[in-house]
């Protein structure tokens, strides 16, 4: 059975902590930093549950600041 692996890279300094990517992710990969903030004072998004990522791109699609880049790998032997 093929298995899908995904990963995202988030530009945390560009992030404004709007939470839209968190709401859009179907597999609850993302969250906002509860305490830490970036240079501009926003609680930025991070991957709280990275192994669940399927590389669907939903988070990147809705991000208003184009902070997220997406990778997707289909492993046919997994």
């Amino acid at each position: 059975m093929a298995k899908i692996f995904g990963a995202v890279e988030i530009d945390s300094n560009r992030c404004k902590g709007c939470d839209l990517c968190v709401a859009a992710c179907p597999t609850s990969v993302l969250s906002l930093q509860p305490k830490e903030v970036n240079d501009r004072g926003y609680h930025f998004a991070y991957t709280v549950n990275p192994d669940a990522c399927i590389g669907c791109g939903s988070c990147a699609a809705v991000c208003p600041d184009a902070c997220i880049e997406v990778y997707r790998l289909v492993d046919k032997n997994a």
């Binding site: 404004k16 990275p50 990147a60 699609a61 991000c63 997406v70």
Partner: protein, 257 residues
């Protein structure tokens, strides 16, 4: 499988659009303007229009659009973007000209320019960000503000008997013979973003092919003006805005009936 195995160039399925400049956009967190800028940048690149496109920026929160997308731009006075775009597209017929306007800009002070550009069938794309409010100036009522909607100038909610009814300007644009494509989209979900992207692509192709005016309304949020979080603003938009401003194509002369 490790993160290093997955994060490789050959596995990349989404990158930040090349035509989006490095500048951080000044928009509030979660603002729909950002998502639409991203789509415009993506589609311009995809259609190879980076050297031919000329944008006309409005007065409103998108006043600095020219700082964010790496094409040629002109800044118009409040509401006059379709008139400026008319001149540019007539003088530079080899360029693809579009306006990017808010509802205060397009449907209040600029109503005449909007209607007459659409009536003349100018070969331009009009992107219309309808967030039902004057975002930039502090959340005053716009012509598009819903009945009952609270704004800083309608603190108890818009009342039809005092403030009039919300205007559905895309429906008016569709009645005018010069428009070839009028559609109403949104960018609140991945599916909506895909649909809006397709609409902007269609509108830019129409403009390049000189088919008349293409009018793309994006029903949008203004979380600051609406005084909601971005996620709640999206929900409020779904529950309230879409009833008055239903999504979908209103007119498409390319589709044979």
């Amino acid at each position: 499988m490790t993160r290093e195995d997955i994060i490789k160039d050959e596995n990349k399925v989404y990158s930040r659009p090349r035509l989006l400049l490095d500048a951080t956009m000044h928009y509030c967190p979660g603002c729909s303007h950002g998502v639409v800028h991203k789509l415009v940048a993506e589609v311009l690149e995809e259609l190879g229009m980076e050297d031919t496109a000329i944008g006309v920026a409005p007065v409103g929160c998108a006043v600095f659009a020219y700082n964010y997308i790496d094409i040629d731009w002109i800044e118009a006075a409040h509401g006059r973007a379709p008139a400026v775009a008319t001149a540019v597209s007539r003088l530079q017929p080899d360029n693809v000209v579009f306006t990017y306007q808010g509802d205060g800009d397009l449907a209040a002070i600029g109503t005449a320019e909007t209607i007459h550009a659409c009536t003349r069938g100018e070969n331009i794309m009009i992107i219309f960000i309808n967030n039902g409010i004057y975002g930039m100036t502090g959340g005053q009522m716009a012509p598009t503000t819903l009945e009952g909607m609270k704004t800083s100038t309608t603190p108890y909610g818009r009342r039809a008997d005092i403030n009039g009814f919300p205007v559905k300007i895309s429906d008016i644009a569709a009645m005018l013979d010069g428009t070839c494509y009028v559609t109403r989209q949104a960018v609140h979900t991945p599916a909506a973003v895909r649909s809006a992207r397709k609409a902007i692509r269609q509108a830019l192709i129409n403009t390049r092919e000189k088919r008349g005016t293409s009018f793309v309304e994006i029903v949008s949020t203004c979380s600051s003006g609406w005084k909601l979080s971005p996620v709640k603003a999206n929900k409020w938009m779904e529950e309230n805005m879409f009833a008055k401003y239903p999504l979908g194509d209103i007119k498409n002369t390319e589709v044979k009936k």
